[in-house]
Symmetry: C2
């Protein structure tokens, strides 16, 4: 009787049904991560390297509404509402960051640089919220949003919340997950021509692919020809592994229609702080701000103070070194690259096929040739976490559009490489010692 009082909305029921598919699977697999003795390479949180600058300044901010020895209070509002669009310090730091660090910073690109005066920043309570508010600001019911598959599952969730349709452009593992303009055009032809947003992720979650200049130019052409807005999900932008595959920002190739998101979760290893941001067209930002104010209202004030300092320190260091030093990749990148190498070697020796990992927090492998689990990623992940190695990873099933049914690959597994070296070494040792 109690339950029946709460009749859920159609949208809520729709998500319940979806949860019976990939959602339930995701929960089942991540539950295995929490079993005793299991090494969690499932969820992509870093277990090291949280920015000490950010932490120091956040702690200082939390205390700064207290009376000092002189009886003065530095900031009585230190733990109170920040301005809705973000604390002034953090907004300035985000704008400075995007203006001072560009693709051309590496000196190895012929990107056209346009300092887009129509752009500004907005602080959001996580990059997840950033995605949500951009979708809300641009999509009407029945509109379409396009992205490459496999994709971060939240793109599909936000499409569902806004009652829009996700059109996917399937990337092929054997082709190195490379995107071409022809693939974009093919997906467009299959769409209802109501695509308003193309979501681009580089370095890519989950594949580890870093987009080349040719790929960015293809996206720019496609968006211009079809009047599509580009949402650049570049949250892993300082984590690239090879000098011949540097991070290139989409906004440097498509300044007039790109909106970019970033987050302290990935830039400063602070996934628990929920501080993200959007940088883009002022009119769009104003509308995003409205939906931000109706989602979380404002973002955590003392944590914004910490992130502002960390962002500024990137630009400060670059200035001190007279702009000779590229701002990316950051110091994390080398650790993660070595992690990827260590893990790839173990996975290969245990019978997996590992795909090249050029950046980001993840490594993807195929388990097609592992006979004991019939080459099936779901079975592999369950067996890997429960028997032998006791390592958790996630099958890519939830990273594909369920509407595609049987045409989605079933042999791909994602491993998080954003972990301490000893964690990765132990996982690699176990994977080699207990092959499936």
């Amino acid at each position: 009787m109690f339950v029946d009082c709460f009749e859920l909305s159609k949208l809520a029921l729709k998500f319940q049904t979806q949860n019976k598919g990939p959602g339930l699977l995701w929960n089942e697999i991540t539950a295995l991560s929490r079993e005793p003795g299991v090494i969690d390479l499932g969820q992509g949180y870093p277990d090291f390297g949280a920015s000490s600058i950010a932490k120091q300044h956040a702690k200082r901010a939390i205390s700064s509404d207290e009376k000092t020895l002189t009886g003065a209070v530095i900031d009585p509002r230190a733990n109170q509402y920040a301005p809705i669009p973000g604390s002034t310090d953090l907004l300035e730091a985000v704008e400075r960051y995007y203006k001072e660090t560009t693709t051309s910073d590496r000196g190895d690109s012929d990107a056209i640089l346009i300092d887009c005066e129509r752009d500004k920043a907005l602080v959001t309570t996580s990059a997840t919220e950033a995605l949500y508010v951009i979708f809300r600001a641009l999509l009407d019911r029945g509109d379409e949003v396009m992205t490459c598959s496999p994709f971060f599952p939240w793109y599909l969730a936000h499409a569902t919340v806004t009652e829009s349709t996700l059109i996917d452009v399937p990337l092929v593992a054997e082709d190195g997950f490379v995107l071409t303009e022809e693939m974009l055009d093919l997906a467009w032809e299959k769409s209802e021509k109501k695509v308003k947003i193309f979501v681009h992720c580089s370095p890519h979650n989950p594949t580890g692919h870093v987009s080349s200049e040719a790929e960015l130019k293809a996206i720019a052409n496609f968006c211009r020809r079809n009047n599509v807005v580009a949402l650049a999900d570049e949250v892993y932008e300082r984590t690239t592994f090879f000098t011949n595959k540097p991070h290139l920002r989409l906004r440097d190739y498509l300044p007039e229609r790109t909106v970019t998101i970033g987050t302290a979760s990935k830039l400063f290893n602070l996934s628990g702080w929920r501080i993200g941001w959007i940088y883009g067209n002022r009119k769009l930002i104003d509308s995003c701000n409205t939906f931000h104010s109706y989602a979380s209202f404002s973002s955590p004030t003392p944590l914004q103070a910490g992130v502002a300092e960390a962002l500024n320190s990137i630009c400060d260091e670059r200035e001190r070194e007279k702009k000779k030093r590229a701002v990316w990749p950051d110091e994390n990148a080398q650790i993660l690259q070595e992690n990827a190498t260590i893990l790839a070697e173990a996975l290969t020796s245990s019978g997996c096929k590992v795909y090249p990992c050029e950046g980001g927090f993840f490594l993807v492998a195929s388990v097609k040739n592992i006979k004991s689990i019939q080459g099936d990623a779901v079975k592999y992940c369950k067996k890997l976490a429960r028997e032998g190695a006791l390592v958790s990873a996630v099958p890519l099933t939830p990273f594909y559009n369920p509407d595609n049914g049987d045409s989605n690959p079933t042999d791909l597994v994602r491993f998080a490489i954003c972990k301490r070296r000893e964690t990765i070494l132990e996982a690699a040792r176990r994977i080699k010692e207990f092959p499936l």
Copy 2:
């Protein structure tokens, strides 16, 4: 050309239009608060009393992913994603809080207490997000949500986002903002009988009214008769001013269909932390959690640690004193009550009519008899902040349904009383010295 690439959604445009009404006014008035020399009694953030327990523990949590002297790390995930529904510590603290502190705690109520085993907690990134996810979980397009007016403007915003209609039950200042079952029935008759949620706020923002047992029973009857869910916005529950008007929880009168929200913003004077919660039916909570995961994903991890300690300290103190001490009102309440008295006296002497303030963070006054501004609240607020007193306050215009047009009162003004004593004294002094 740049702007035209970003064609906003219909919903975004709808909010732009609304902003030309009350939103724009709100922005104009709050901008006056930031002018030099102006005392801000507009926005309801406390400028004192941020919980030191919460602050201490949050700072400790931020540091606990660092190596101690022994080389051990207390919690490598201290600054990483919390579990989506909330940190275990905070979830347990919220459930303990609602189970151990009930209406009957005061010993002056004959409320039927039902420990509803079907209820559980969910941590949300602010009470604003809590409202949003409950609306999303329950409302379909075209549904109705009912609340008393004047109301917290975000109720209308969330109704708009979910494409539902807000039905208001007008409370009358001259009647002490009292609600009766007849008033609820009258509003129901005028509705399309698609009301799924009744949002109840007590202590009430903005009027300061605290609901009596008779009012709660009227709401319970109404909700049961019409199969309506009650959303109890009781974020100010520890701030009541009179022993004969204690806080009574709606869930104690309507356990089977009440979902309650609370927040560290108001309970611990931490409006900048964005930690709120929902307590209610498990099935509803699970659905709210889905939308929470698609809004901010999870809430700030180290701040949750701080709030958990602060919540537990309420129950711990009560246990130490062998449950003899009522948990409410809290120590803040007396300060705010005295603030209300000081401000009311000044406002009355300057020609305003002040309505009884029984709890919460606000005081409401009528400026009907002030001739220089023709009894108009908007003119009063602009003149008060710009000339003479230099005190900011907000007209109640945005707290009414704009669809009602001319029938909304135009003479009511809200003053925040959640400020340091010296702030209130100075505001009172100026209001008396510079009458409008």
